[in-house]
């Protein structure tokens, strides 16, 4: 597993942080205040989580006067969502075993 994937897994393993990220995926750009209103945790806690998400490349911040707007960066999930590539490797490996089995089976 690449270090990038590790970082993404760790970042999204926290339920509160993941909920914030999913809300940004769903609702688009939001301010810290708007996110806090439904997060069930304090504004400083929300800001801290957003900082972790930003470091992982999962959200982008856009300062606007005294407000900061956050938006989800879905491209950052690419290492995780490439499940087709992973499953392809899985099946290639299984086909190797199947080929080996066929050489050992009776006709």
């Amino acid at each position: 597993m690449t270090p990038d994937t590790d970082t993404l897994f760790r970042t999204l393993a926290d339920p509160t942080r993941r909920a914030l990220f999913e809300r940004l995926c769903r609702d688009g750009e939001l301010t810290v205040a708007a996110l806090t209103a439904q997060a069930g945790v304090s504004q400083p806690a929300v800001s801290k989580h957003l900082g972790v998400l930003r470091q992982a490349g999962l959200v982008r911040d856009r300062p606007d006067g005294r407000q900061t707007h956050y938006s989800a960066q879905l491209d950052a999930l690419t290492p995780l969502t490439d499940w087709t590539g992973r499953m392809n490797g899985f099946w290639e490996n299984r086909f190797d075993k199947l080929e080996n089995l066929l050489t050992r089976m009776d006709q």
Binding site: M1, F9, L12, A13, R18, F21, E22, C25, R26, A72, L74, L77, L80, T81, W83, T84, R86, M87, N88, G89, F90, W91, E92, N93, R94, F95, K97, L98, E99, N100, L101, L102, M105, Q107
Partner: protein
Amino acid sequence: MTAAETRSVIVEREFKASPDKLWRALTQPHLIEEWLMKNDFQPKVGHGFNLRGDWGGVLDCEVLAVEPNRTLVYSWNFAHDDPAFNLTSVVTFTLTPTADGVHLRMEQAGFRPDQPQAYGGAMHGWRQFLDNLDQLLAREAE
């Protein structure tokens, strides 16, 4: 971008064996175990079975279509505590005789079109499975 996209994995290979022999490898539990996973498979439409990985993961499956020496289809589902994150996919094996063997095409189609969660949520459901899969593949690469 949504999680509702359905994507497929397709792996194809030609084997130097008869369609009948390959069919047995795909449908007899003790043979399936040798190349795929431990299982209680039966080639009967509607039969529910589990595939049990060496890593402890259990896949819930159901036979959807059986056409001896030609087609085998079963569901390939990985349950998650949160139903919204369940993985649902269908695996289709298609056998075609060739001049000196048999061609096998495997297509795994995943993510139901109605799966509601956001992109991030869909990824979460895969976390455990991919972790386990990575461990498995790493062990097998040794």
